[in-house]
């Protein structure tokens, strides 16, 4: 199993009571609630935690992109990746991912990834995402054209990485007379591409296509949903006439390990609740701007939200649904193994710091995961 230590870089000093007075910690949360002195310390701590994962034996460390939110301080994840390259030697660095539709010229993304790939001598994993709904509010990008822009930007980036330049690119959304990348990527033909997703059927079918076979990472979902999306990827692959490899299926999950289940819940329960209830809190209108998904997917989402009901999620509920793995090494390992038996997935993206979880507990969690869980996941 490939193990990624992943970070969202939340702004932990957030005044949660104050934030709760606003529509969401995304897009509209007044930025006077950000204190640069505390924020600078947050960056230092979070980067230290990622770097430490190399010493613990993780295969990769991961960052991601979100805009105008206390949920994550990485509007430009490639800047963090660049810092991580300087402080690590061996681990792969996964940017999970850059939001392709949000830019007006995707060549800049191709260039940045190519630079990072050269700087790291081939340690980059390039994640491509559309950005979540809120990002269409904060960037102004029209969600109606999100899918079209994503596919076109993807095609442009892959061609820029692999075809001799200069050439012209004639898209409906991006039209460029000169595509001629300097530098070209270090890896041949290009850095591996991963697709983190919340599981839309359109994305599954696209990622599983034989031309791509991109690893598909299901993020922040109940075990039931993770299994369903993995299975739908496998089914789609079979439809295309091949068997999906374990390395094509990934699961991104908050994980906390302590000596006992009770202690783990005591230490991490509140933190995981702040992740889901405070930092991820967004309205339907923010999550699902019109056109971001098909009308059918949107109606399914409405039904799902209605079924989930309102109210705060509890740590207990999140653990019971398998949305978070919190417990003793045995408990956490069992949760991972259960999913492995169900879906044969081969990439575990471990969120070992989440919500307000402090540095000390994060470090203990990482140590214990590496010592007690990781050895059992080595194939």
């Amino acid at each position: 199993m490939k193990l990624v230590s992943f970070h969202l870089m939340p702004y932990r000093p957030l005044d949660l009571a104050e934030a709760a007075k606003h529509r969401s910690p995304w897009v509209v949360l007044p930025n006077h609630l950000y204190d640069p002195v505390k924020g600078a310390e947050e960056y230092a701590s979070h980067i230290d935690a990622l770097v430490y994962a190399e010493a613990l034996g993780f295969d990769a460390i991961g960052v991601n992109e979100h805009h105008q939110t206390a949920y994550g301080l990485m509007p430009a994840p490639n800047l963090i990746a660049s810092a991580l390259i300087q402080r690590t030697k061996r681990v792969q660095i996964a940017i999970l991912g850059r939001a392709l539709p949000l830019v007006n010229n995707p060549i800049y993304i191709a260039e940045e990834f190519a630079m990072l790939d050269n700087l790291s001598k081939g340690r980059i994993i390039a994640g491509f995402v559309r950005g979540i709904g809120s990002e269409y509010h904060s960037s102004g990008t029209n969600p109606y054209f999100s899918h079209a822009r994503f596919h076109e930007a993807h095609d442009l980036i892959i061609r820029a990485w692999t075809e001799p330049g200069p050439f012209a690119f004639d898209g409906d959304h991006f039209s460029l007379r000169y595509v001629n990348l300097w530098p070209r990527p270090y890896q041949t033909p290009h850095p591996p591409v991963w697709i983190p997703s919340q599981g839309s059927s359109e994305t599954v079918a696209w990622a599983a296509h034989p031309d791509r076979k991109y690893p598909f990472l299901v993020t922040f979902s109940s075990a039931e949903l993770v299994a369903r999306y993995h299975t739908s990827y496998r089914d789609k692959a079979r439809e295309y006439g091949y068997e999906a490899a374990s390395g094509q299926l990934g699961w991104a999950c908050p994980i906390y390990v302590a000596e006992t289940d009770e202690r783990a819940m005591e230490e991490a329960g509140q933190a995981v609740e702040t992740l889901f209830n405070d930092f991820l809190r967004q309205t339907f209108e923010m999550l699902m701007p019109p056109g971001y998904t098909s009308i059918n997917s949107m109606k399914n989402f409405v039904a799902m939200r209605r079924a989930l009901g309102g109210g705060r999620m509890t740590a207990q509920g999140l653990v019971e649904s398998g949305t978070a793995l919190i417990g003793s090494p045995k408990t956490v390992l069992a949760g991972i193994e259960r999913m492995r038996e169900r879906t044969g997935f081969g990439i575990l993206v471990c969120l070992l710091q989440f919500g307000i979880l402090n540095d000390e507990l994060t470090r203990r969690n990482m140590d214990m995961f590496a010592a007690e869980v990781m050895p059992h996941l080595r194939d």
Binding site: H137, N142, P143, Y144, E285, P290, G291, I295, M298
Partner: protein, 259 residues
């Protein structure tokens, strides 16, 4: 007076339409909410005119051709529609997104039109004065922010929409995003060309419009060559709904003076 339901087919696109009354044509271009119901306002106009209320492509019961991707496409499509159905000497009325559309049509070709009535139109902006963000508002907030008089909102909110109505609302919302998300509610080029609308024009604006700021009204008054401005007191974004009778009377009087 019951409206008659009809369909037009233009360039392979079926357009759902309601019509009532007889006389010269009044073409009403609806806003982002579509045409959920026939309004008393239309009935008053229909005492004097033939009132046509189409649903734009992508809204309600009309087709949604993938090649209509912008307000410019939609405006040129309506010029095709007016030409192919032989409409002439048309009085054009637009509300909100429909007002934007009316202006986009007339700057391109006003030859079959006699006048323009703008009810809180989108389409141009005043820098530094943002529109209300009805894409981020929740369902109740969005209804409340349409009106000054909250009893209108209370009545609407008291009857939750049916599944079929929700489907139409979702469809309309997709089309509205396609046309108006970015730049939000305006075309960068439109304001430059409003001088081409050399037609008697009436601009009507609610003084408590929470979507299209009332400050925009003066700019329309200034840019349209033959415009008169009427500010409606204690009125939100839908003057023809919230003050239906006086607004309809003003429009009928205005149109009576148009050749």
């Amino acid at each position: 007076m019951p409206a008659q339901r009809d369909e037009l087919k233009v360039r392979g696109v079926t357009v759902a339409l309601q019509r009532a009354g007889r006389g010269r044509t009044v073409l009403f271009l609806h806003g982002a909410g579509g045409v959920p119901q026939w309004l008393p306002f239309f009935d008053t106009l229909a005492e004097h005119f033939e009132v046509l209320v189409p649903e734009h492509p992508g809204f309600g019961g009309s087709d949604d051709p993938p090649w209509i991707t912008s307000m410019s496409d939609l405006a040129l499509f309506y010029l095709d529609l007016v030409e192919e159905t032989g409409l002439d000497r048309v009085h054009l009325i637009g509300n909100s997104l429909g007002g934007w559309l009316a202006a986009e049509i007339l700057v391109r070709d006003r030859s079959r039109f006699s006048s323009l009535v703008q009810l809180a139109p989108a389409g141009i902006r005043v820098k530094g004065v943002p529109c209300g963000d009805n894409f981020i508002w929740g369902p109740e907030e969005a209804v409340r922010n349409l009106y000054h008089d909250q009893s209108f909102a209370d009545r609407l909110l008291a009857q939750p929409p049916t599944e079929a109505q929700l489907d139409v609302m979702l469809r309309n919302r997709f089309t509205v995003a396609k046309l108006g998300w970015q730049p939000r509610w305006f075309s960068p080029d439109l304001e430059k060309w409003l001088h081409r609308i050399k037609l008697p024009s009436l601009v009507v604006w609610g003084d408590d419009d929470k979507i299209m700021p009332p400050q925009f009204a003066a700019l329309w008054r200034e840019r349209l060559p033959e415009a008169r401005l009427v500010m409606v007191e204690r009125c939100g974004h839908l003057p023809h709904v919230e003050h239906a009778a006086p607004v309809a009377r003003q429009i009928v009087d205005f149109l009576a003076g148009v050749a």
